[in-house]
Symmetry: C2
C-alpha cells in the first residue's frame, strides 16, 4: 500500500494518475495548501522540503514528481508506462520530463511563487508579468519540437503524458491561450476523456 500526499492543481496530479493507471493499492492524502499545511510541523516531518508530491512506499519515502513517476511505472512494468531495456528511449523520456520539471514548471512558478527567488514585491510582480511569455515559449517548443504524437513520446502512452497534461492545465491561469498549441490541446482533450484521468480529477 502506497500513500500519496498531493495538493489539488499541483504537479502531484501526474503521480496520482500514474498510481491509478497501474492499479496500485494506494491512499491519496490531500495537503491543504490554502491553510499552508505544507509548512506545518506535521507535514515537514514527512517532507522537510514542504512540497508535494510525496510517495510513502514500503521501502521508504520518495520526493520529486519525476522520481515518483518513474518509480510507480518501474514498479508496475506490465503497465508499460516507461520504456524497458532501451536506455536511449528511456533517456528521451527523462529528457522530456526533465524539461517539464526544470524549465516549464519553473516558468509557471514565477507567476505564483516568485517569493522563492526575490523578496521585493516589485520584482515578484515583474516575474508574474513575464510568466505568460515564458510559458508560451516553453509550449511552443513542446508543440513544434518535442511532442511526437499521438502521445508525447510517440505510439506509447506513459508518464510523459500524465506530466504534460498536468502542466498544460495551468496555461489558462498563467495567462496563455491553450488553443495556440493545437497538438497539446488535442492531447489534453483525449486525456480528459480517459476514465482513469476522470476518476482522479473527481477524487481530487
Amino acid at each position: 500500500m502506497y500513500r500519496l500526499f498531493y495538493a489539488p492543481h499541483s504537479c502531484s496530479l501526474a503521480s496520482h494518475i500514474a498510481l491509478e493507471q497501474t492499479g496500485a493499492a494506494y491512499e491519496a492524502i490531500k495537503v491543504d495548501f490554502g491553510n499552508n499545511e505544507q509548512r506545518g510541523d506535521d507535514y515537514l516531518s514527512i517532507n522537510p522540503k514542504g512540497r508535494v508530491p510525496v510517495l510513502v512506499t514500503p521501502d521508504g519515502t520518495l520526493t520529486e514528481n519525476l522520481a515518483i513517476l518513474v518509480y510507480i511505472s518501474q514498479s508496475a512494468p506490465e503497465a508499460g508506462l516507461t520504456p524497458r531495456d532501451d536506455p536511449f528511449a528511456f533517456a528521451q523520456l527523462l529528457s522530456f520530463c526533465t524539461y517539464l520539471s526544470s524549465t516549464v514548471h519553473v516558468a509557471h512558478a514565477h507567476g505564483v511563487r516568485g517569493y522563492r527567488w526575490a523578496d521585493d514585491p516589485a520584482a515578484i510582480s515583474e516575474m508574474k508579468r513575464k510568466t505568460p511569455e515564458s510559458m508560451s515559449e516553453c509550449f511552443e517548443t513542446i508543440e513544434t519540437r518535442l511532442f511526437r504524437g499521438p502521445w508525447v513520446m510517440g505510439e506509447d502512452y506513459g508518464i510523459a503524458d500524465m506530466y504534460l497534461f498536468t502542466i498544460a492545465s495551468w496555461l489558462k491561469a498563467d495567462g496563455v491561450d491553450p488553443n495556440q498549441f493545437p497538438r497539446v490541446a488535442d492531447h489534453r482533450a483525449r486525456m480528459l476523456s480517459d476514465p482513469v484521468v476522470k476518476k482522479v480529477i473527481a477524487a481530487q
Copy 2:
C-alpha cells in the same frame, strides 16, 4: 563514438566526467558561451533550446543533463554508476538529481541568468541579491538531509556525485562560503583528487 557539446563552468561538466569514467569513446566539443555561440544558428540546429550539454549518440541526440547522465550510466552498466534492478534505489537517485536540476541549478541561475524570468533590470538585480540565500538553503538541505556519505547516495559512487560536485563548484561565485557545508566540502576535495575528474577539468 559520442559527441558531447559542453561549456566550461556549466552543468555539462557532470556529463563529461561520466563519459570519461565509463571509458566511452567520445569527442568533447566546447561551445563558446563568451561569444554567445549557443544562440547561433549552427548550435541551434543541434539544440534548439540553446543549452548545454548535448550528447549526440548513434541512436540520436539527447538534451538535459539528467537524461544524459542516466543514459551514459545505463549504456555502461558495468561501471555501476546507477542502481540496477532496484526501482526504489533508482528513484532515490532520480529524486536527488531532480532536486539539483529543478531547484538548486534554478536557484543558481537567478544569479547569472535572471533575464529568463524578468526584463526589468531592477528585478534581475533583486534576484541576484537573493541568490546566496537560496543557494545556502539548498546546500543546507543537501548537507543535513540528502547527502548520505561517504558518497551522495551512500556506499556507491555514481552520477549523483558528478552532478553535486559540478553544482557545488558554483557556490563561491554565488557568494556562498562552501566551508559552511563540511560534508559537501569534503566530498568536493575527494572528487578533486580523483584522476578522472582531474583529467576532465584539465581538458575543459
